[in-house]
């Protein structure tokens, strides 16, 4: 017995590491490693257009949609203001940092303006969340949509801070260690790093005690309250965490386009984030990225495709709307759900084919 106990620490060191690695389901699937490697060597495969317009944009939209996925999937709160939080962060980068609108921008260096924007946007999202948790269920959508729409109209009519409907242009992007971080390849790695960080943060939180309690709150708030959990505090904390992720996405977005205007925070854009998350699937953190990829591909190539089929190229939103309706009608879990159903179906067919000789 004593021998065994003595031997325990020695053998368990690598075992512990392995167990910790295996606790992340991502690390024991070859497909995941393949995707990771492809994403890492992407700059050597794709040129500037694909790298930024397709992949970096996918990662940015996916990050914002990830924050919605976290709230909706683990917290049961469908918030339509995640893009508004991201847009708020973007505006704050423009207001505190440097831009062409010198009468608005305060001209702080990026390493001061960015954390400031992150803090303010997180506070904004938390306050909005605190407002939204005053009511429950379906009302969340209404209140968060009202917040998002109000912010859009506010940016449109406010000139002193938000620059009215022209917005703020030519926003400075970070430049240090001799690298222009907005040039294609460094920027791609920045977005990849941030997206990966957010992805693993959501994965981690979903299995941490807080995430488990949040899922409990989603499934049965009254029971969790009876068990002594503060239901509203968990919900507001979830909003705060999601707001932080959305703010990161918003900062990347403003660095990408180098301008921000009310059009970027319009109601349509808020709804696009919901579409991305729902189409990808809101039960797993990978869903929003898949959804964002589909969305970006469609947005970029729908015009050419529609014209090729002899249709009006401007009907991109019709296509998006119909696709979204189809997903909502036939798969409550987006593309992931379809994929899983197809695999289960294939497995069932295999089983039947393997074990079903007797049936003829």
């Amino acid at each position: 017995m004593s021998l065994l106990q003595g031997a325990h620490p020695q053998t368990s060191q690598p075992a512990k590491l392995r167990a910790a690695l295996l606790a992340w389901p991502e690390f024991n699937k070859p497909a995941v490693w393949l995707v990771a490697v492809i994403l890492l060597i992407m700059p050597f495969i794709a040129n500037g257009f694909f790298l930024i317009e397709i992949f970096a944009t996918t990662l940015i939209l996916g990050t914002v949609a990830l924050s919605l996925m976290f709230l909706a999937g683990y917290g049961g709160m469908v918030s339509l203001m995640q893009l508004t939080v991201a847009g708020f962060a973007a505006y704050m980068v423009a207001v505190f940092g440097m831009s062409a609108n010198t009468n608005i921008s305060l001209g702080w260096p990026w390493w001061l303006a960015t954390p400031m924007a992150l803090i303010l946007a997180t506070a904004f999202g938390t306050l909005g969340g605190a407002l939204a948790v005053r009511t429950e269920g379906i009302y969340t959508i209404m209140i968060t949509l009202a917040i998002g729409a109000a912010f859009y109209y506010f940016t449109n009519q406010n000139w002193p801070i938000f620059g009215g409907h022209t917005g703020i242009n030519t926003i400075a992007t970070p430049r240090f260690w001799g690298i222009d971080w907005r040039s294609d390849i460094p920027f791609y790695y920045v977005t990849l790093g941030v997206a990966a960080f957010c992805y693993f943060a959501v994965q981690y939180v979903s299995r941490a005690p807080f995430g488990l309690a949040l899922q409990g709150v989603r499934d049965n708030p009254r029971r969790m309250a009876a068990l002594g959990f503060n239901v509203n505090a968990h919900r507001v904390a979830a909003y705060a965490f999601a707001a932080f992720i959305a703010a990161l996405g918003g900062i990347l977005q403003v660095w990408n386009y180098r301008q921000i205007s009310p059009g970027s925070v319009s109601v349509g854009a808020c709804i696009d984030i919901l579409i991305i998350a729902v189409v990808g699937g809101i039960t797993r953190p990978i869903g929003p990225f898949i959804g964002a990829f589909i969305f970006v591909i469609l947005r970029t190539f729908a015009l050419d495709l529609l014209v090729k089929f002899g249709l009006d190229g401007n009907r991109f939103r019709l296509l998006i709307g119909l696709g979204f309706l189809a997903i909502v009608f036939w798969s409550s879990d987006g593309v992931i759900g379809l994929w899983e159903r197809w695999r289960r179906g294939a497995a069932a067919v295999d089983k039947r084919a393997g074990g079903g000789h007797g049936h003829g």
Binding site: V78, Y153, G321
Partner: protein
Amino acid sequence: MIRFIERHPAWALILLIAVAVLLWLILAVWPPGLEEAIGRKRVFLNALFNGITLGSLYFLVASGFTLIFGLMRNVNLAHGSLYLFGGYIGYAISAWTGSWILGFIIAFFGVALVGIVLQIAVFRRMEGQDLRQTMVTIGLSIVFADLMLWAFGGDFYQIQTPSWLVGPIELPLVTAIKSSGEAVYLRYPLVRLVILVAAIVIGIAMWLALNRTRVGMMVRAGVDDRDMLAATGVPIQLVFVAVFALGAGLAGIAGVVGGTFQSLSPGEDTRFLLASLVVVIVGGMGSIPGAALGAVIIGLAEQLGSVYIPTYAIVVTFLIMVLVLALRPQGLLARR
């Protein structure tokens, strides 16, 4: 009324003082000091009347929204699209036949028909799944918006006001006294007043229909407990279809009204969706009097805000919503 005063004496007093101040502001000739402080009385009265008439338009949109939500628990985020669709129908009909009234009638029935089709073909299939229904309405609003953009383009349309309603009339409200001692009266567009009266008539008719008729009784019972109503043998699906048709039709009428005293263009659907959301959040979900109160409050806040604090007007509307959510999350006049 008396019970309210007994229960909340402080609030009753504040309300009474507010009403008295408002009446004085409307009826009295403003002393020069006040005019210097907050501008001319004519501007204030115009903003006030614009606010109330805008509120009547908001009421027409939001009452349908709140009715559908109250009975079917369906947050119809395509309601703004129904509004815009009604407006376009009204424009097409009135431009074609030259009759404003005919535009109203056809817009009501046309949009009500869309509502019936939606309820039967789409929402009945997913009854009780709140979130999924809402997602479907979002998808529908995108599809409708794009179809309407396709059909009508991005131009602004304005519905022609009929000749018998064109022009202002003089109201017996003194805005200023000329140096010669002559009183100047407020002149206000007749069409807006007619629409205000029409909205009040529709509101009262709806209240009567809900509170004094058998169908209204069914609807109210359905708002309280849908399952129990179905269990008593009421053809609940028929009631649902009727209510959805009425709510959609009201949005269609509102579209014609909005097209007459504002304009129709892509994007108006979102604006009126936001307005109905805020109105029912403030007034209380599923309550018709709540929608009326909320609509007047929001209309006034928007118009007075845009006159007195132009770049922050939307913040006032928003702050009202925040205040209501903080103090009375179920809305001002909701029972639950």
